[in-house]
């Protein structure tokens, strides 16, 4: 019996290892080949260690501009969608059954709708708006609007559960004790739902940075990092991509480690917290 259990455990370990190998092997290959010194530009032949692709990467003005655009859009989209979404979640939470259902269906719609359809529909909207009202063609403005739109549902869906967990009497109690509504919101409601708000904002930020499909249809000629990566992959061989991937991966790793260390500290303080 004991032997069977150990065999099962070993099988589980091997299986886990194989899945992780599948998930990480391509990334490892990218990272290794970012240090590849190659003149012929073959993607898969090792020609010695070199940092030339990194040098080239950081000299590339277009990439740096794309990076700046991406970060700007992500920050604006995350902040706006968090504020708008949190307020909306409070409103939705207080609604009666039927209007709440309608609002939730509208919220869920962009999440279940194929991204490409959302992108195309927004493109039609912006192109039609330009045709009707004039104004500049697609660019930063349309990108930011599109990003806010697809981030909003994620903010709402991470704030709503926290509102539902909250004791509704708390807010009323604060008011009974003479606290004005706005102050009651900031002193009583917001601290209660803060984990949901923060999660929503982080999600919005990362989704925005990572988005390609919707940006692709709403960007006009403006470059964001994913769009630039796309144009790089269209070229036959460009080891700069590998260097860029490595830099991004390292940044993500660093960010995740910081977040997790913070979470662990939080958990140390309140052991029963849900992630």
């Amino acid at each position: 019996m004991k032997k069977a259990v150990t065999v099962k455990k070993a099988g589980g370990r091997i299986y886990t290892f194989l899945i992780f190998l599948f998930l990480y092997a391509p990334i490892l290959v990218l990272i290794v080949f970012s240090f590849n010194d190659t003149e012929t530009g073959s993607r898969a032949v090792w020609g010695g260690f070199s940092l030339r692709w990194y040098r080239k990467l950081f000299e590339d003005r277009l990439i740096l501009e794309a990076l700046r655009n991406t970060l700007l859009i992500a920050v604006v989209a995350a902040v706006v969608s968090t504020v708008l979404g949190t307020v909306a979640a409070i409103g939705i939470n207080g609604m009666k059954r039927l209007p709440r259902r309608i609002m939730m269906n509208i919220t869920n719609f962009p999440m279940v709708n194929p991204e490409i359809v959302t992108g195309v529909s927004l493109m039609l909207l912006f192109v039609s708006a330009v045709r009707l009202f004039g104004g500049r063609s697609l660019g930063m403005g349309s990108l930011i609007a599109a990003h806010i739109t697809f981030c909003l549902p994620y903010v709402i869906l991470s704030v709503l559960p926290k509102l539902r967990q909250m004791d509704p009497n708390l807010y009323e109690a604060a008011q009974d004790l003479g606290c004005p509504p706005v102050k009651a919101f900031f002193k009583v409601v917001l601290p209660e739902i803060m984990p949901g708000v923060v999660t929503g904002m982080i999600m919005a930020f990362t989704l925005s940075i990572d988005d390609f499909v919707i940006s692709y249809f709403t960007s006009g000629t403006t470059q964001t990092l994913p769009i630039y990566i796309y144009s790089m992959t269209r070229k036959r061989i460009s080891p700069e991509i590998n260097a860029l991937s490595t830099v991004l991966f390292a940044a993500v790793m660093a960010l995740l480690i910081v977040v997790n260390v913070r979470n662990l500290k939080d958990q140390g303080r309140q052991p029963e917290k849900e992630v």
Binding site: L23, V29, N105, V112, L125, Y171, L225, P226
Partner: protein, 275 residues
């Protein structure tokens, strides 16, 4: 939080009306009009010419979803049986590749699968014949599984980890063997996770256009590629593109309706159901 709920969600309602509902209406409008703006059914009817593209997309998407489920389920079960601390690490390791842009992840597979790529070089080194892998339907399915399997693993894991151990023990006490426990207790209880996993893999897989472009060469045109061509490609025709998008949406709604039949309606509120 009851007061002013309508007022609080008003900005959100306005935003979603402009950026979700109006664009969708525009898709409908373009799908049923010609270039001059008069009503026509021609676009919808000509979608029929592309039925092979639709069938291919649905088939490849379904195969990728099935593979993800078959690979992901045992993996999620293995994680769910680990200690709480290791579970967190595992979940983070599953999520980490998702933080890398999917264009880069797909690009990495190009390096591996090419005729002169790493896998073929390795095969040649040990004396095996080279295999043509890139630009095949199999490569597209691989790309889909690789990119979307975390969306299968995570919901499965979160459902499996919540299953009450005592329910399983009760089944064992009542004489069920491990196969019976799995089929009669674990699988039914994990159905919500299966449904959301299948949806979260199938929808993006069916509507992808980058994976097929990068790994499928020109011969594996999918619905997404067709839409892309009508809006940003050589065959500029937003009317036809809108019609294709509309049909794609209907297909996905039907698939999700079918999926929801397997569900007891518990995920209704947050599971992303429509209508």
């Amino acid at each position: 939080m009851k007061p002013n709920s309508k007022l609080l969600s008003a900005p959100y309602t306005v935003w979603m009306t402009i950026f979700i509902i109006v664009p969708m209406l525009l898709v409908g409008y373009f799908a049923f009009t010609d270039k001059a703006g008069s009503f026509t059914l021609e676009n919808i009817l000509s979608v029929g010419q592309y039925s092979n593209v639709f069938l291919r997309s649905i088939w490849l998407g379904a195969v990728a979803t099935a593979i993800s489920l078959l690979l992901g389920y045992p993996f999620a079960m293995t994680i769910a049986r680990m200690s709480a601390k290791r579970q967190n690490v595992m979940v983070m390791l599953v999520m980490l590749p998702m933080w890398m842009n999917f264009l880069l992840r797909t690009y990495a597979w190009m390096t591996l699968l090419e005729d002169n790529g790493l896998i073929n070089n390795a095969l040649a080194a040990i004396g095996l014949p080279r295999v043509h892998m890139i630009n095949t339907a199999g490569a597209v399915v691989l790309g889909m599984v690789y990119n979307y399997i975390p969306y299968m693993i995570l919901p499965l894991y979160s459902v499996l980890t919540k299953i009450d151990r005592s329910v399983i023990e009760a089944a064992q006490d009542l004489g069920a063997n491990s196969a019976q426990v799995f089929l009669k207790v674990v699988v039914p209880l994990s159905m919500p996770g299966v449904i959301s996993g299948v949806t979260m893999v199938f929808v993006p897989a069916v509507s992808t256009f980058i994976i097929s472009k990068m790994l499928g060469g020109g011969g594996n045109l999918l619905i997404g590629d067709l839409i892309d061509m009508q809006f940003l490609g050589s065959a500029y025709n937003p009317n036809l593109g809108s019609a294709v998008s509309l049909v794609l949406m209907v297909i996905i709604l039907i698939c999700m309706g079918i999926m929801n039949q397997f569900d007891d309606g518990e995920v209704n509120e947050k599971g992303g159901m429509l209508l």
